[in-house]
Chain length 442, copies 2
């Protein structure tokens, strides 16, 4: 099969990432084209508003508001969907894949919500859907799990998949700032998505966890089925107390498979994690993923999780893989579209319920500062067979006290019931807050 | 092109890694074969001594002492060279590549010494030479640099590439043990290569640095041309003092490219590195590599650098890539054999001499414990425009003293000259020891 002398790329969307792809292909074009053995041409750029001023200038002939010039254009070899969102992007991705095209995307929300359908369309029509940039920006986690660790089955994948929340937690820790003060700064720096729930309520990272769960285990999990808790409840004092106990508080994605019970736990929540873990040292806007394979052991990848350049680096690596696929005339990568593979991986696999979790917990409870209150709280927890590992009591000025405790091993169900009991207790003020303590060896 | 229903693999060598490849293909055979869309058969295993008892049992018909049954066998699709060494392995790899075969290897010494010739033979004959397992065991550093970060040029790659020396340094640090005591333990655990210079004098890690330099920059560097210093000079007290100053001492491989001057520095030596760097936290037998690309920023990969399972995980991932190459009928990976690419990457690139290094240094100097000796040492260094950043003087029982100092920025040439001057100074006992302080931002 003769190789194409030129590969034509169409961009849907020309915002931060789209312009980054353009800019960075230009930057290292010579080395890149030699490596790929072909020329790369971005021949079409489709935007919502062509009159809007943009940093990167594109020849006017290739610039339009008409997605058909990319999606339905037989001259386009690779479609890059970098517009975001889940309605128009869904329609266009579907249309491109139906025509057997190769689509490269950074759209985690779209894959999370419609991946099952889109991979199926790609499979049926001989197209392919690449998505390295959708999880952890510049970190090659998709390629690593899919190709480099192909010999493995994955007991545990966990990590930090949202840079904005990690930035907020890092500054709270280092500077003793409140959540609100740090959030204000993060907003000013443009780190927070327009829809703040994506960053602050863990939804963005949960999208990515769902994608990794599918990649590693062949099972589509719905966002509504999993624990998804953000960082809004975390106070500076929680971070401080955790620090004294040897922990950091991080917003963790956890994808844990119990091969014996054939259960899969996918979740996204803040957790105390020992400072000795490499992932605990991943600070600021960095992301980090720890992958434990049954052959390779534990491998950790750390890098920039977002931003124009890191994300476009991953988009360009997908374009490179797409080029090899186009030139080779056959699927050069292990295909997520392959139904049989995923049936094998996911055979009989069931989703674990949050209630089935077992571990240690951190609880923060406000109480009336009266005699015997600690004993009372302790008695309530004992009813659920929960015992204290550490206790930190702090008197507040208004006649109340703050209890910050960690527990010995307990079930999540027991913690949930204990919190309900605490809520009904007159000495307890407001709702107790609990965070899981995550131990990768557990 | 029709796909093969079965891919036949021949193993040259059936030691730790060879048996690991066999065992781990068996372990996850079902998922692996579904992912690859083909069956994997290890049909030939060639060993030096077929009568030797081995843990993994192989059907007797596929077991022999005759390498021709792998290398010259048209029924073998993929040759895995896992025998090690650089004489017989060179001959057989050459012969296999001359026949246009795909060879997968874990043999860093062979690539370091003969890679230029072997890649050239592969290129000329349409074969391919895969080597993920040769650098950093289970860490997918080759695939990451070659494919995932294809959009990038690499200003800096550095890290820990030898697990045994890292294990020794970690135990010296944590337990305050001497080098000799820790080495004894490492020997007992079977961590040290039969040729101890490979681990202790940095040669093994230097082999890997040479490979990474070629991969990232297209330039073959000779081992004799680069700084290669091992860990034998490091004492427990060096580690302790470094720790007090906020550093760890690690055996680092450094591949730094100055794009403006078009110079490449490749080196392997112990260095003080700030504890704040992720790589400084890579302890025990783990390896870690930090890659700074001009698009993606810094990405760090950490994992097991050696051992049967980690290494065979990488061999199997190369086998998987080889399968896709065989099935696709075209090169599915970015080819190291492509001369033009490497000419572009390495165009005009010159190797930097050790003397050109600039940085801060740690010096340990034994002196006669007499009045004014610190001033005298300080004067000698001042002649080379070297000034102290920190000084630690310790009186010893025999009327001598130990000076442990760090310097401000200096050139390596000045340090070398200063050490020569110190050697000629009557107050100085024995030869001063110096370690570089590595600052990735510098």
């Amino acid at each position: 099969m003769s190789k194409k002398r030129s590969i034509r790329i169409g961009l849907l969307g020309f915002g931060v990432v789209g312009q980054g792809v353009w800019k960075n292909i230009e930057k290292n074009r010579l080395a890149l084209e030699y490596r790929l053995g072909t020329q790369l041409e971005i021949t079409q750029v489709v935007v919502k508003d062509a009159s809007k001023a943009r940093e990167v200038l594109v020849p006017s002939g290739s610039y339009s508001e008409d997605p058909a010039r990319v999606v339905d254009n037989p001259a386009i070899d690779i479609v890059c969907e970098l517009m975001g969102g889940t309605s128009k992007a869904l329609e266009l991705t579907r249309r491109a894949l139906e025509q057997g095209k190769i689509v490269v995307t950074a759209n985690k929300a779209l894959i999370c919500e419609h991946g099952e359908e889109l991979f199926e369309i790609a499979r049926r029509n001989g197209g392919h859907y690449f998505y390295e940039a959708s999880v952890a920006g510049g970190i090659p986690i998709i390629k690593t799990i899919r190709e480099a660790l192909v010999a493995n089955r994955f007991k545990l994948i966990f990590g930090i998949l949202n840079g904005t929340s990690n930035y907020i937690l890092t500054r709270m820790e280092r500077e003793g700032l409140s959540f609100d003060a740090t959030l204000g700064d993060a907003r000013k720096l443009g780190y927070v998505e327009a829809d703040e729930a994506l960053d602050l309520d863990g939804i963005d990272a949960a999208h990515k966890a769902v994608i990794l769960a599918y990649l590693a285990h062949g099972k589509w999990v719905k966002l509504e089925e999993i624990i998804c808790e953000g960082i809004r409840e975390i106070t500076g004092e929680d971070i401080e107390i955790a620090g004294q106990l040897g922990y950091k508080i991080k917003l963790l994605a956890v994808i844990a498979r119990d091969f014996e019970a054939n259960k899969l736990s996918v979740r996204l929540h803040p957790a105390l994690i020992s400072k000795k873990e490499v992932i605990a040292g991943v600070d600021e806007v960095y992301n980090g993923v720890s992958v434990t394979g049954d052959v390779v052991g534990t491998t950790v990848l750390i890098g920039r999780g977002a931003g124009q350049d890191a994300t476009s680096s991953s988009v360009i690596s997908d374009i490179a893989d797409a080029v090899f696929m186009l030139q080779g005339g056959a699927s050069a990568v292990i295909s997520e579209e392959d139904e049989a593979t995923h049936q094998i991986l996911a055979d009989g696999l069931e989703l674990a319920l949050g209630d089935e979790l077992i571990g240690r917990y951190y609880l923060r409870i406000y109480v009336r500062d009266e005699e015997g209150v600690l004993a009372k709280i302790s008695d309530i927890l004992a009813k659920e067979h929960i015992s204290f590992a550490t206790v930190n009591q702090k008197e507040l000025e208004d006649g109340t006290a703050k209890l910050m405790v960690t527990t010995h091993m307990s079930s999540e169900a027991a913690i949930t019931r204990a919190i309900a009991l605490l809520n009904g207790e007159s000495s307890v003020i407001g709702a107790p807050v609990s965070f899981r303590i995550f131990d990768p060896g557990n």
